[in-house]
Amino acid sequence: MLYNTPLVLSVAQLNRYVKSKMDADENLNHIFLVGEISNFKHHTSGHLYFTLKDEEAQVRAVMFRSAAARLRFQVSDGMRVLVRGRVSLYEAGGSYQVFVDDMQPDGAGALSLAFEQLKEKLAREGLFDPAHKRALPKFPHTIGVITSETGAAVHDILRILQRRYPAAQVIFAPVAVQGEDAPAQMIAALETFNRLRCADVLILGRGGGSAEDLWAFNDEQLARAVYRSEIPVISAVGHETDFTICDFVADLRAPTPSAAAELAVPDRAALKTQLRQTTAELQKAMTDTLSERRSSLALLCSRGAFSQPQLFFDEKRMRLLTLCSTFQHVQQTGLHAARVKLGEMAAKLQSLSPLAVLSRGYALASDPGGRPLKSVTKLHKDDRICVRLTDGTATCAVLDTQLLTK
């Protein structure tokens, strides 16, 4: 048909047509792609431009600023990456390219991507929050060990616990640490420990293995169970370089199972040294207390009263004597003063007595009732009055009264 009626397209029309074909293809709308980065350019606009290639081919790729902002690693040429995105055509350039939404360094491929995604999700939910992490008990009484019965990890852990701190009991929960059942078994063990409250700290882990072998420790539900555990959890998965989701959510991450055992318990030898020191301090404190009391007692005894009791009593006696004489003196002088005062008082009384006046020749007149007479106006001729002189009384009759004129 094209031969017969040639349809002439513009370049733009062609590109738009091809683009629409590509956009309609669901397979191209959501792809994961692994490749090596080359021609990497970080444009000032914030977009990333690069080429993804492998041994045989290459394809252009762009990651827009909004997606690039979420990247958590530095992109550079030669890096192998796993990208998620869609394929479409850049109409103006006429080249098809990958529009990248997300990109991870390609370690374990898709597993790595899933790991990063889960890690980010749980971090956002706060499962790795340092504030949620519980402190390990200093001297755990019982240690729960959740690991495989057959692996080397359990032997490493028990050997180190035995060497460092045999006083701690161990409760061992044998579980599968890899395979489909592993997460569920580990969750069940965590929950049982928490329900029974039969351990002070838990070690959850396994020995080294491939990324796939360790995968059970990246299980989301297991991570949540670790987060929920009220007993502190030490994670110990694989080797020092292996990181799992469990490591991030656990209260403490140990690089290896052996290290977990060392972190879980104190060192007996160090404790013994410390205990010896404390015991010595206790004895010294007691000795000091006693010798302090002894010396203060000695000081007390050396004071006058105890060292020369005779002096003490002499002194007391002297004081008593002084007191007695003072008392006597006071008493005597007091009596004398009182006597003098009494004399004075008697003399005074004497001088005031009306009898003393009578002795000087005055007379005291009173009516027959004994009331003193003070005026002549009340007297009449022949009234009887009584006159008192110094040595007796005379009854007299009134002959006449004269009022003195003043």
Partner: protein, 70 residues
């Protein structure tokens, strides 16, 4: 005496040493504290020396817990 943990014993022991060092306790109390401290130190030492590491499985612990409950 209620079963003491190593931590409780060591904490109390250190407290006693401090009390004795402060010299505020009466002689009677001091002697009693010293006696208690000596006992605690012996307990701690014994706890550390308890050579036998006890290992049980979780299922045994669970069975024990059920046994206690009934």
């Amino acid at each position: 005496m209620k079963k003491m943990t190593y931590e409780q014993a060591v904490t109390r022991l250190e407290e006693i040493v401090k009390l004795l060092e402060s010299g505020t306790a009466s002689l009677d109390d001091s002697l009693q504290l010293f006696e208690e401290g000596t006992r605690l130190a012996a307990f701690c030492s014994k706890t550390l020396d308890a050579a036998e590491q006890k290992i049980r499985t979780l299922s045994e612990a669970e069975a024990d817990a059920k046994g206690d409950a009934t």
